[in-house]
Structure formats: C-alpha cells, structure tokens
C-alpha cells in the first residue's frame, strides 16, 4: 500500500464524482431533502386524517328501541352524533360511508333492564375505517356509562358498597426510562433508515467507479499507470466509503430533525400519550461508529460486484437483488420480539440493526458492541480482500 498513490487516486475520484450530478443526487439530495419530506409528509397527512376523523360529527343510526323511550332520549341528547332514521340496509350504508355506525337496541330493553338482564346491545361498525371506529367508540362509551349507572343504582337499592363489584384495583406502571420507550419506537426504524441510506448512497458511485470505468474505456488507461492495483482499489473503496458515510451522516441529521418536527406535530395535535422522541446524542454517535465498518463492508461488496460486471447495466442488475437481500436483515430488526443473542450477533447487517436498536433505547451491552464491531470489521476486511483480488485478475478486468 502506498499512501501517496492512494491519496492521488482518492482525490481524483472525489473531483470526478462531485462533478457528476447523479452522485450529488444520491449523496446529498436524497438523504437531506427526500427523507425528511417523506417522514414529515407522512406524519402531517397522518395527523391531519386523525384530526379530521375526530372533528367530524358522525351520522349514526339507531335500530329498534321504540319501547325504550328513556334510552332513546338519552342517545339523541348526544351532541357529537347526528342521528338518521333507521333503515334495514344499515350495513350497506355503513359500508358506503353514508352512515358511520349503527346501534341495535333489543326489544323490551328497558322493561327487561328493570327486572334483570336485558340481552345484548349490538353496535355495527366498519372495522379498519378510522371514522367508523370513532363513531362506534362514541356509542360504546354511551352504553358503558349507561350500564355503569345501572350498576350504581342497583348497588344503592341493595345497600351495597361500591367495592362490592370492584374488590381490588389493577394499575400498570411503566418503569422503563423515557429513552427506552422512545428507543423502542424510534430505535427500530433508525438503523433500518441508515442502512437503506448507506446502500442507496453508495451504489451509484461504486458502480460508476468500476463497471462505469470499464464501459467508458478508462479502465485500460488507468491500468497502464504504474500504480499498484491494490492502491487503485483502496482509493476507490475509500471514495465509496466517503460517499456512503456522508449520506449516512446527512440522513442521520435530517432524520433526527424530522423526528423533532414530528414530535412537535404530535404535541400540537394533543396526542393523549405524548410521544417522547428523545434520542441521546452519545447513542447516536455510537451507532454512527458502528456504521463505519458496515459501510466499508457494503462499499467493498459493491465494488467487487461492479468490478466483475461488464457494464453499468449488468452491475445494477446484480446489485438490485443484493440490496433487497440486505434489506431482509435490516427490516427483521424492526420486528418486535427479535432479541440479540450470540448467534444473531454474528449475522452481518442484522447484528448491527439489533445492537443499534438497543443502543438507541439507552442500553449498552458493551460485550456485544465489541463483538459486533469486530465481526463486522472482519466481514468488511474479507469483502475488501475479494475486491482487491478481483482487481488483480485479468479474466475479471477483461471479461467479455
């Protein structure tokens, strides 16, 4: 390895790539503009839809209940519903969204209630439809209260205390620190986003520096120079690494920012359980540190594939399935319940995703962190070795 030569190659590739609009697009524009826009846009639309659903006064239908005037009167007194006359095609009307929900009061409801059990009050809704569910929720709340009142009256009639029916209370208390709560929420997504950005950021430059050079005929020119092939590969690899790390760093910053925006949106919306989206900067830094060998691994892998390919087109057709293949471990880490163990710590990409999730939720398993960092370095080293080897094989360089 010759540092001077490596530096010359690196500097030239940097200038070359920075003058290419497509690199700028994949390195800067996508992570800085597209990602936050995507997230903020999704958040905005999501909150807006939820708010609208809450604000709409749903149209509701009451079926039966002619012999229960008290219940009907109380129902009609509900301010947050508009009542429409009953109709036998209520199910169709709910499906077509002209009515959001319907409630069926059994015959002789009030008479039966006075003496004992009054059967079942049935609420019809369109599950999965947020506005229908909200309307059904209003109806359900009304009948729950109605039932609770009835229970209270009965207890009073029989001179029984309240705790007759609630002999003890149950309460859930969260002991996890706020970071842990947000970590589980955010920590699963962030490593996935970073890995995605890292791949998207480097794929173009890796292909351009290898298969692209072959296609444009500059590879042969480069091979005539007295620079050892190792230095050419290392210079190129360093360049791809730079591009990926810049993309990762930028996407980390922009993702962090969009989370802040998203959180403030959530608060302004007045979400009952306020999303706490705090991320410890030290954790973020640690995750970034772990991403360095992963990025090197990806860069070497893509360089190797690019070198092997005859053209940019061929390289892309190899790399696209590879990218999807890499997404599988990255996405698996977002699954709840998948926990890091000694075996999973050896699976490339998946191990990084899992440990990042832990780190972002404020738990530092130093043993695992060290193990994963070193195994990833090892994988990156092997991939780089393969790339260097391929660059020394003329059957690969002059593949026809």
């Amino acid at each position: 390895m010759n540092l001077r030569q490596l530096g010359i190659v690196y500097r030239k590739e940097l200038i070359d790539l920075l003058r290419d609009r497509r690199t700028i697009l994949s390195m800067f524009v996508v992570p800085v503009v597209v990602m936050p826009l995507l997230m903020a846009g999704l958040g905005f639309v999501g909150f807006k839809v939820a708010r609208q659903a809450m604000q709409e006064t749903p149209r509701v239908m009451v079926l039966g209940g002619e012999d229960s005037p008290q219940t009907l009167a109380a129902l009609h007194a509900l301010k947050n519903c508009v009542f429409v006359p009953p109709s036998p095609d209520y199910a169709a009307q709910i499906s077509s969204k002209s009515v959001r929900a319907a409630v069926e009061i059994p015959a002789g409801f009030e008479v039966a209630l006075a003496t004992g059990a009054a059967g079942t009050v049935r609420i019809y809704e369109y599950q999965g439809e947020i506005k229908s569910e909200a309307a059904a929720g209003v109806l359900q709340k009304f009948f729950r209260e109605w039932r609770a009142d009835t229970v209270q009256q009965r207890l009073a009639q029989h001179n029984l205390p309240d705790d007759f029916i609630t002999p003890f209370a149950i309460e859930e208390t969260n002991v996890a620190p706020p970071e842990k709560v947000s970590g589980n929420l955010v920590g699963a997504i962030i490593p996935y986003l970073i890995i995605m950005m890292c791949l998207a950021g480097s794929i173009y430059s890796a292909v351009d520096l290898t298969a692209g050079e072959k296609e444009r005929g500059t590879m042969e020119t480069l091979l005539c120079s007295p620079v050892a092939r190792v230095n050419l590969v290392l210079g190129k690899c360093l360049m791809v690494l730079t591009v990926s790390l810049v993309a990762v760093l930028l996407s980390l910053c922009s993702t962090g920012l969009s989370f802040v925006v998203l959180a403030s949106m959530a608060t302004s919306f007045g979400a009952a359980r306020e999303l706490s989206l705090t991320i410890n900067p030290v954790s973020l830094l640690l995750v970034f540190g772990l991403m360095v060998p992963v990025t090197l691994f990806f860069a070497s892998l893509m360089l190797a594939v690019g070198l092997f390919s005859r053209s940019v087109k061929e390289a892309n057709s190899y790399l696209q399935p590879l990218m999807i293949f890499m997404f599988i471990p990255a996405v698996s880490a977002t699954l709840p319940g998948l926990e890091l163990d000694l075996w999973l710590a050896l699976v490339p990409v998946l191990n990084i995703s899992l440990i990042s999730k832990e780190i972002l939720s404020g738990t530092y398993h130093w043993g695992y962190i060290a193990l994963i960092f070193s195994t990833t370095c090892l994988y990156a080293g092997v991939a780089l070795r393969v790339a260097v080897m391929l660059f020394q094989r003329e059957s690969v360089l002059f593949r026809t």
Binding site: Q5, R19, G217, T221, P226
Partner: protein, 245 residues
Amino acid sequence: MIDVHQLSKVFQDKKRGAIQAVDRVSFRCEPGQIFGLLGVNGAGKTTCLRMLATILQPTSGSATVAGHDLVAAPEKVRAQVGFLSTATALYDRLSAFELVRYFGRLHGLSDAVLDPRIDEIFALLGMQEFRDRRCGKLSTGMKQKVSIARTLVHDPPVMIFDEPTLGLDVLSARTIVGFIRDCRARGKTVIFSSHVMSEVEKLCDQLAIIHDGRLLAEGTLAQLRERTGRADLEDIFVHYVEEKR
C-alpha cells in the same frame, strides 16, 4: 528497447475452451526505430501489446521492456512505457489539464516538475486553447491530443501504440502519425500495430507479420521484399499468410 522471447498467451473461454491468442512470439525493437506489428483483426496484435504494457500477464515466455522484466517488475515496466490505443479513453469529467496531471501524479511526478512539463507538452501539441475544457466536451481530434499528452507526461523511453488511428478521420490520424515519427526522432523505442498496409509501409523501420497468434515474418520492408520477391506490402502479407496454410 523491447526484447520479446517466446511470448505466449492462452485465454480460457467457457464455450470454446483454451484459445491461443499469442503463440511463442519473439522479436526485438531498437531505440530510435519504429517497429510495426501487421496483422488482420484477431491476429493477436492487441493481446501482444497489452502484455508488453503489462495490462495482461503472459501465460509463458518472457520479455524485457527498457531492461525490466514484464512479469517480475510490471510496475517498473509501466513507468517506462507510454501506451496508447483507441480503447484507452479519457475521464469525461476532468479537464484536459487535470487529466494529464492526474496521470503524471500517478507516475510519481511532483507538481513542481509536472506543471511546467504539461505546459510544455500542451504548447507543443497546440492544446492551450482547450486546456481547461472537460474531456467529455472535446472533439475526437482534441481527445486524441489529450491522450498523446497523457502518454508523454512521464517522458517514457518506450512507446506502445495499439491501432492508434483506428476510426479516426484523416486529420486526426495525421496528428497521430506525426507524433509517432516525432517519438522516433527523439530516440524512443516505438512499437505499433495496424492492419492498414499503407500506414505500416510509410512508418516502419522494422516490421513483423502476425497471424493466428504466430509471428510469420520479421525484418525491414526491403528484406521482406527480397525474401518474397514481391514489391507491394499487401502482396507480401498475403504471401506469408497463404504460405502458412
């Protein structure tokens, strides 16, 4: 100086098996002379020259270029060689100056040595006008000049040209031919390949006929005329190729 001894190259092809691209070729090129490698397409000219430029490794045999062994010291050989072919393209996004400087730096030259040297070469080739223009925006003739400047930047004693005029128009081809003569005048060892008889006839001091990877004849044009009893190079060429059959 180039000394080639029993140089061979075998390619492995999945479908066709082993292909003998160059078969035990031996010849010598002297400084201050132009050595021409004449052959049809696929005769093994490019493979032979690529081996001499150490872009490909020989399967067997040996050669020394400017005193360095091809296999033992490929990087030293490359430092002594300027290699130009129609396949050696330029980086579109670098300017003419940046490109030549990049290759100068790769040859280990410091900027203090390089910058005046590049200026000198650019002046010589009349390239000042497009010095800072990106290579991608240059005309074919201009690109050709940049390529020449690239091969000259480290002042190599040995020049290897692989079909340098292929696909060029008359004027661009003239630039190249003039440049090759220039190299000879400056005492460089020049080897060049072509399938154009007239070009070889005009330029070469020594020539060799290569066919199916084998060297069929070697000598000066006068010697070949004498041996075959024919005057026209094309007739000489056909004579050797048919004799082989």
